[in-house]
């Protein structure tokens, strides 16, 4: 496997195991390379739209579906609480972990809480809706806004 793939997998497995973003030092330890090599890989993965980095390039803002920062979208799976980037990604956490969970979010207009059981067959019946303000062709123009 190449370094970028090793780093990508190390990032995703860190999120899955700990429900928080890894530091470059933690990834360096997992992959057995030095920190500058990890940071170079971060830049290549950012260019491939695998990662969204914080300013400075050393901290992971998004490794979709996982969020490196707290958000209103939380997937509770196997006793851990994972932050997701958006409504799509909070379902994506359950799909990625391949374990049933409970999704917590809210109605953006009223603040009414959403609590939804999600199995590997999908969410429990619900008439809530998903809305995306940005057309698909422009999602990556500003992925944090999207």
């Amino acid at each position: 496997m190449d370094l970028d793939l090793d780093v990508k997998l190390a990032i995703y497995h860190h999120f899955a195991e700990t429900a928080r973003r890894p530091s470059p030092e933690e990834i360096a330890g997992r992959v057995q390379v030095d920190v500058p090599a990890v940071l170079d890989a971060y830049q290549r993965l950012r260019a491939q739209r695998v990662l969204v980095l914080e300013e400075g390039g050393a901290s992971i803002r998004m490794a979709p579906p996982f969020s490196g920062v707290p958000t209103q979208h939380v997937a509770e799976v196997a006793g851990k609480r994972y932050f997701a980037n958006c409504a799509w990604d909070v379902f994506g956490v359950v799909a990625a972990l391949q374990e049933p969970g409970t999704v917590h979010s809210r109605c953006e207009q009223t603040g009414e809480p959403l609590r939804l059981a999600v199995s590997l067959g999908g969410p429990e019946p619900s008439d809530w809706l998903f809305h995306c303000a940005v057309p698909a062709a422009h999602w990556w123009d500003d992925i944090v806004f999207t």
Binding site: M1, P64, P65, C86, C107, E108, A136
Partner: protein
């Protein structure tokens, strides 16, 4: 990419934000999107869908039209 309790609440939110109401997605459709994008994300051979695959995924889920076209140039950020 947000959740709403009802179509009425989407309309209220869009009016307040000054943006158009976009196509609404049911949660079972959203689950289809989530699994298509992320079900293999922790595996070594995982990769992001390419535009032709994205169109197929959207069409399979009943999400069609320029809004869902990953390469459409007819929409602004509006």
């Amino acid at each position: 990419m947000l959740f709403f309790r009802s179509e009425e609440k989407v309309q209220e939110w869009c009016r307040a934000q000054g943006i158009p109401v976009r196509p609404l997605v049911r949660l079972e459709q959203l689950w289809g999107l989530a699994t298509a994008w992320y079900a293999t994300r922790l595996q070594p051979d995982s990769r992001r869908p390419q535009p032709a695959e994205i169109r197929e995924i959207f069409a399979r889920l009943g999400l069609e039209g320029d809004f869902w076209d990953p390469q459409a140039d007819r929409f602004g950020q509006g």
